[in-house]
């Protein structure tokens, strides 16, 4: 039998000015199961709380209703008081007499009646409350970081410096990401590699970081604090332990004319290669698609020249399994590729290049050693046109969003061009200049004012070649939509940043959501921009949305903090207000019939499959099971389950049904 205590708070006069608190308490004392009912001036005060604790002891209460302010205000207070009084904290409910009653209604019988009704619903609810205990989930204090760009590097270093183990995987042969390809960075124009490479080396040498390059996530199981990741280490055809990174194989490889990915196709690399001189690790891989040995079955020059016998042609992909407690996804972005801009002739005219290609041309380590030369004939372009928003903010191209970084790097490109080509003429076609960042606007102004870059506000309709020149047809909207035609030597497209081609597949492996553009979705756009909907998985950098370097780095550090918070406990403690699938005696075991339609309804992938087997191991039935580590307690599955086999603790069918009954009937 329930023994409920009702405590009606006056809240000074906040409640009692309009509600007859005494009458509320008196009426409540008449309800079946209510053994104690009082009103008091300030329930949340020390004496008020003592009143509750004392009553729990004296009257041996099994449940408490505090009729006071909003539970969003003081529920934790009173649950704590109950706990201290010796009652399970979840046996306490609040009736909202202040925000939902006294403050919104005038003094009168109707207001008091409403207060009585509200108290009664909570009495009937609390009678059906179950003592609950917080959920404890163990934590494996190793983080998996996916992607070795600047975000992945930063987050790995931060987590590792907190004293936690990190496994960093990178799909390419070297870490460094897009940042390693950049020439100089806005708005300071410091050399990208100069600031990045020390961090890359730090990663390689950090005792807490295990680095797997040329590796990708194969699959992921488990949940927050307890993931099991399978990692595919693609065969490099090199024994990493034996290789000293001397580079002999790469210089002797007879297949030398493979377009270099690192140089965006503007230079060449051999079939056994290190993507760039500062690569970490400094260990080559054999590109099996282009290697003569793999194509024709003979060559093996690299094997012959390797002083440490590190070449292993028959090496196979290796799958390793690691246990991790948290994951940071930092897989970066992709760049919209040719065919996308037939009107700009990208792919057709060699001197129409992307911004990233320009980075390589401008980079001291690039194919031209930093000299701006046309890819077609190696001439220095006298006139250059930069087209901003090449694809971005263009619904017709399917990319309505702003790629965010292009305004800045275009200004930088124009500036670099002006610095490198004296007397050169550069024009930037733009829609708007979006330079919201510390020193960003100043940087753009410098390009325009000091470096005399010509900014034309208008779009380019077409680029075509005529007599060895690239004719750029555009419009100057600031001069009354005047058509502009420029005979340029080179055109640079500030191509839209897009999600990585493999983003969707990866998201499905990780069970995280993604938006219509395949960027990974954050849990909340304002308040949880780093977490995903799947507990324990964070996002950092441009895989969530296009980001520049400082943003990526801050986000990466933010993700590291989230991971460190998680790892600061030995066990995760979570409120037990989560869904549970009922279990009952044989032969039913559960009323769940295993249709698993709840799985598609759950926003958190918290519903798993549980197999019930007899003693001989024969499957009796498969039923749903809620993973307490993942469930956030929204209850969507509950309302969806036809057989009502899932219920949500704290808002069970029995509780809410009787709340409604209590509202509408006399007791």
């Amino acid at each position: 039998m329930s023994r409920i205590g009702v405590f009606v708070c006056h809240c000074g006069e906040n409640i009692s000015a309009t509600v007859n608190c005494q009458k509320v308490a008196e009426t409540a004392s008449g309800y079946e199961g209510v053994v104690h009912s009082v009103d008091y001036k300030y329930m949340c005060s020390d004496p008020g709380q003592t009143l509750i604790k004392q009553a729990i002891k004296d009257k041996n209460l099994t449940g408490v209703v505090v009729a006071a302010c909003s539970p969003r205000m003081h529920e934790p207070t009173f649950r704590k008081a109950c706990n201290e009084g010796g009652l399970n904290p979840f046996m306490c409910e609040m009736a909202n007499l202040r925000e939902h009653c006294s403050w919104v209604h005038d003094k009168g019988d109707l207001t008091t009646e409403k207060a009585i009704d509200v108290v009664r619903t909570q009495v009937e609810k609390v009678k059906r409350n179950q003592p609950l205990t917080d959920i404890k989930v163990p934590v494996t204090k190793t983080a998996l970081v996916i992607g070795g760009g600047i975000a992945g590097i930063q987050t790995s270093l931060d987590i590792a410096n907190c004293g936690h183990k990190v496994i960093l995987i990178e799909k390419d042969p070297s870490i460094g990401g897009h940042m390693s390809q950049l020439s100089e960075t806005f708005p300071t124009l410091d050399c990208s590699q100069c600031i990045l490479t020390p961090r890359m080396v730090e990663v390689a040498q950090h005792p807490n970081i295990t680095l797997y390059t040329y590796a990708e996530l194969e699959s992921l199981d488990g949940f927050i604090g307890n993931f099991t990741a399978k990692i595919r280490k693609k065969a490099k055809s090199i024994d990493e332990k034996l290789c000293t990174g001397c580079g002999l194989c790469t210089t002797k490889c007879p297949t030398k004319k493979i377009p270099s990915e690192f140089n965006e196709g503007l230079g060449f690399r051999p079939a056994v290669y290190v993507p760039f001189p500062q690569a970490v690790p400094n260990i080559p891989v054999i590109d099996r698609i282009n290697c003569t040995y793999y194509i024709k079955g003979k060559c093996k020059v690299c094997e012959k020249v390797c002083p440490t016998k590190a070449i292993v042609f028959d090496q196979e992909d290796e799958i390793i399994e690691v246990a991790v407690g948290a994951i940071v996804v930092a897989t970066g972005f992709g760049i919209k590729q040719p065919d996308f801009f037939p009107e700009y002739g990208y792919g057709k005219y060699p001197d129409v290049i992307t911004g990233m290609q320009f980075e390589r041309l401008a980079s001291a380590s690039g194919p031209t050693f930093g000299e701006i030369k046309r890819p077609s004939d190696g001439q220095v372009p006298k006139k250059i046109v930069f087209i901003a928003c090449a694809g971005s903010r263009d619904e017709a191209k399917g990319i309505p969003y702003c790629s965010k970084i292009c305004c800045m790097y275009t200004a930088k490109h124009a500036m670099l061009y002006q610095h490198k080509v004296h007397g050169g003429e550069s024009t930037v076609f733009y829609m708007d200049i979006r330079a919201a960042g510390k020193n960003y606007e100043e940087f753009v102004r410098r390009a325009i004012e000091e470096d005399t870059v010509k900014y034309v506000r208008g779009r380019v309709s077409r680029v075509y070649e005529k007599n060895g020149k690239l004719i750029v047809k555009g419009v100057d909207t600031l001069l009354g939509a005047m058509p502009v035609e420029i005979e340029a030597d080179m055109v640079v497209l500030a191509t839209a940043g897009v999600a990585n081609p493999g983003a969707e597949e990866l998201a499905q492996k990780l069970h995280i959501s993604y938006d219509g553009y395949k960027f990974f979705a954050e849990s909340h756009p304002k308040l949880k921009p780093i977490e995903t909907n799947t507990g324990g998985i964070m996002v950092a950098g441009a895989c969530q949305s296009i980001r520049d370097i400082p943003e990526s780095v801050s986000m990466a550090s933010g993700a590291a903090v989230k991971v460190a918070c998680l790892f600061s406990q030995n066990e995760l403690t979570r409120e037990p207000l989560i869904a549970v699938v009922n279990r009952c005696a044989a032969p039913l075991y559960s009323t769940c019939v295993g249709c698993f339609l709840c799985q598609s309804a759950c926003p958190y992938q918290a519903i798993e499959r549980e197999e019930i087997k007899d003693r001989s191991g024969k499957l009796i039935k498969s039923i749903a099971k809620v993973n307490p580590g993942l469930c956030q307690g929204c209850g969507t599955c509950v309302a969806f389950c036809r057989s009502r086999s899932i219920d949500i603790q704290g808002y069970t069918h029995d509780q809410v049904y009787n709340e409604v009954m209590a509202l509408l009937n006399e007791y």
Binding site: E32, C584, A662, N665
Partner: protein
């Protein structure tokens, strides 16, 4: 009392109806709706269906309604206050157009409701009910009253039995009980004297399909037999058969509660449903449909004759007609007899 025989003119039937109606009685009679004929409260004689073999549901609803309130209660800290239903409030009912098998069904039903405790509510309802039977001049492949000791002109259970003498003919009225006589007494003009009439030749010819005594004997040692599984494979375990059966008497007691007030209600239950025997522990002694099918047959043809000396079947064939998967009771009983 010995059966008094009278003649009612076909053209007087409506007058008889109106007269009963005027006496303030509620009349239930077969009525056509959605292509099915069922007992409904009927206000006008012309609403009564004429062309039908048998109503979908049985007449038992009058004495044993599908849902009836037994008592009201109010809870308080002091205890529970109970108000039982007022038997006086039960109204006088006439069922018009009861078939012999339906009327005969009240015998096993009454046997169940009186075998230990006398069920006052049931008995009161039955007492306040007058059954005006119409014997059958037609039958269909589901009819088998003659196999269970009934016949298409059987008077058992009825208070008055009307038999139409040929198509468009007048009616022979057999006055069977005092209640029947009361009707005659109230309408002496409508009941003419009848000569010597052999009603047999006006009745339907219902062939005998099996021998129920033989089946009863057989069932005594038939509990473990594979026939139950074979026969019930296509049974989907609904309660259609029990709901339409004139002799099925299983009921459930439910409290319908609204805050401190509530009502205790008696309502039909169905042994065909798996939940019927489900224990709170989760154990179900009749876990499979075959066991529930066995129970249905054994109950009607073995347990009831043994314990109550009356067979639980009047041969109306409603279960076969209502069954969505064609569980034909004649076929199954014949198979048992032949097994």
């Amino acid at each position: 009392m010995s059966t008094d025989k009278r003649l009612v003119k076909k053209t007087s039937l409506d007058k008889l109806f109106d007269s009963i109606k005027q006496q303030g009685k509620t009349i239930f009679a077969p009525k056509l709706k959605n292509g099915k004929v069922n007992y409904e409260q009927v206000e006008r004689f012309s609403d009564i269906a004429t062309d039908y073999i048998q109503t979908t549901q049985s007449a038992k609803v009058v004495a044993f309604p599908r849902t009836e309130k037994i008592l009201d209660y109010t809870k308080s800290k002091e205890g529970i206050a109970v108000v039982e239903i007022d038997l006086q409030s039960i109204s006088e009912v006439v069922i018009w157009g009861v078939r012999p098998c339906d009327a005969a069904g009240f015998l096993p039903l009454s046997a169940i409701f009186n075998w230990d405790t006398k069920d006052i509510i049931y008995n009161t309802r039955l007492e306040k009910t007058t059954l005006i039977g119409f014997s059958c001049n037609k039958c269909d492949e589901s009819c088998f009253c003659t196999s269970v000791a009934g016949n298409p002109g059987g008077t058992e259970g009825s208070d008055m039995m009307l038999t139409q003498l040929g198509d468009n003919g007048d009616y022979l009225a057999e006055i069977i009980t005092e209640k029947g006589k009361t009707i005659v007494d109230k309408n002496p003009d409508l009941f003419e004297t009848a000569g010597e009439i052999d009603k047999q030749k006006y009745l339907a010819d219902v062939p005998v399909k099996f021998n129920q005594t033989e089946i009863k004997d057989k069932l005594a040692n038939f509990f473990e037999n594979e026939i139950w599984l074979q026969q019930s494979l296509r049974c989907i375990g609904c309660g259609a058969c029990a709901s339409v059966c004139p002799t099925c008497a299983c009921f459930d007691i439910q409290d319908e509660e609204h805050g401190k007030r509530g009502s205790r209600v008696r309502c039909w239950d169905n042994c065909g449903l798996s939940i019927f025997t489900l224990h709170t522990s989760g154990h179900n002694p009749r876990e499979y449909q075959s066991q529930r099918w066995r129970q249905r047959i054994l109950h009607k043809f073995s347990y009831m004759p043994e314990r109550l000396s009356v067979y639980g079947c009047s041969g109306c064939g409603r279960c076969s007609r209502a069954c969505p998967v064609d569980m034909n009771i004649i076929e199954h009983l014949t198979a048992i007899q032949e097994a």
